[in-house]
Amino acid sequence: MTAAVPVQGIREDDRPDVVLIGRPGDRELTAQLVGAVLSPPPWINKVLLVTGFVTLILFAAVTYTVLTGIGVWGNNIPVAWAFAITNFVWWIGIGHAGTFISAFLLLLEQKWRTSINRFAEAMTLFAVVQAGLFPVLHLGRPWFFYWLIPYPSTMDVWPQFRSSLPWDVVAVSTYFTVSLLFWYLGCIPDLATVRDMAPEKWRRRVYGFFALGWRGTARTWSRYRIAYGILGGLATPLVISVHSIVSMDFAIAQLPGWHSIIFPPYFVAGALFSGFAMVLTLLIPIRRLYRLENVITTAHLDLMAKMILLTGSIVAYSYTVEIFLAWYSGDVFERWMHLHSRIQGPLAATFWIVVFCNVLTPQVLWFKRWRTSPRLLFVVTIFVQLGMWMERFMLIVTSEAQDFLPSSWRTYRPSAIDMTILFGTMGFFLFLFFLLIKYVPFIPIAELKETRFKIEEETRGGPVMGP
């Protein structure tokens, strides 16, 4: 971000409790938000080109892996899981904030959710797309992935339901499906708006196709509201369930460092932690580039910073509990893992990065003037992303590297392919994200108007007819 970002908002009335600045009329708002789609900034095509290229490299690496076998990765025995599962947990975790914001806050009727929910929800989808790549890819024989799904085979054999992996498949796919529907449903009215405002015929046809013939009658709106509410209700528990189940991939094992009962809440908190961080990482630059300070206000930044602080504290607490329990249990293996291996072992660096990024950095958010400084927030969120990836790496690799029998101890070094796939998914993620920015109104127009209406109701104490 080259241009200077005003630290204290842009309007005198931009106060941390204001989620919509000024009193923009419906037309004003529509023009501003649809404009982003109808006349996108020129730089976005370059961005798409670059990220698209990275995506191609990712697919190349994936194909190579499938053709030759995962021996092209750095994995070994004992470190049988490494980058693939680390990336999986990281991405799926990032995918959590979206649903939390759009569904959870919907049920809690939080106004500040409005202008960021579609954005966050889309981020969720794209993150889950990345995550979904890994459970299949990390298999020794990916072409048999469907054996994890229960179906009546001619072999009369079924999956092992005591394992967490078949549940993983269900949880992640459900989560993706519901999130997708929920997000798409939210888009429909705005797609219709674009359809109606688009000058070119092709736009009208394309957006019209996806708008499913939306007409915006009172009847449609009421049905729409009901459907939206139901899906929101469905999506909410998933926020908790998905990452709880993912955490079981480790918690049900007896490996020192995995064999822990606190994993489900710990993982969910960690997920939201990284999720909110990712929302901010993307939001802050976009907000600046599209001059959206009036709809994505300091209030939004402030509130999300608080969420990061909260979830971050839970995560920090979990670290402490883990180490304490290891010491308190007196178990020689747990103790070795938490008091030696992680802290001073061959991979100790990861532990200290984790502590710095996830425990120390968020502490700056105790202060309002830092919570409301986009630039600083941006830096903090980047650290959190790094920290959370390292946390998963530490959990998985460090634990595996030094387990029960010293004879099998071995450390781990990622291969070039490992790296390519990790950064490839980042490119793929951004590629999808900027596609969205370019073609879909990423600030929900209709809902925003609604919110503005509500605000005015509250302030004026009575309905006002637009425009």
Binding site: S153, T154, D156, V157, R204
Partner: protein, 216 residues
Amino acid sequence: MQPVFPRWSNSIYRWTIAALLVGPASFIALLWVLARTPYYTGENAVRDQPVKFDHRHHVRDDGIDCLYCHSGAKTSAYAGVPPASLCMNCHSQIWTDSPELSLVRTSFYTDTPIRWNRVNAVPDFVFFNHSIHVAKGVGCVTCHGRVDEMGLVFQARRLSMGWCLDCHRAPEKFLRPPDQVTSMEWVPAGPQIELGRRLKKTLAVNPSVECTGCHR
């Protein structure tokens, strides 16, 4: 403002949604069915053979016992396809110049094997053992069908894992007295289940349903 799409596009939408719901389901169903069709299991598929060997003639007309040619079935995992030398036991005396048998004679005199086409093959990764089945009273006909009525032999049963388990889980449904193993016409005097239960006890039949029973 004129509509972007004609009226009939609504019904297109409805159909599309329907297809999205039904399509994947029916595709899965298709695979489910396919895996059970003779095409996939190879049932009833007659395979041509280099020598026009006719089981009807040798088994029914000549009354040659299965084990005369497939002697391995008693002692080995493989029932075995007889060596040309065995054919020559008889055919050095009869049909000595039949053109049908020329390949057998060349095989015997030039000591080169006849390349038979395999008919009955259990799935990959299965270690099937004939001897134990013969010893425990599983009839040839139970798995191979009425070979005595086959001109060219074909696979008579599914030979899938589920099919194996049908018997391994309830052998009494199929057991017969060991001396009747090679008989093609044998039918139980009384109800099969009772006979089966008795044989199961007397022959100590306790078929493995462990993975390593067949996969090693």
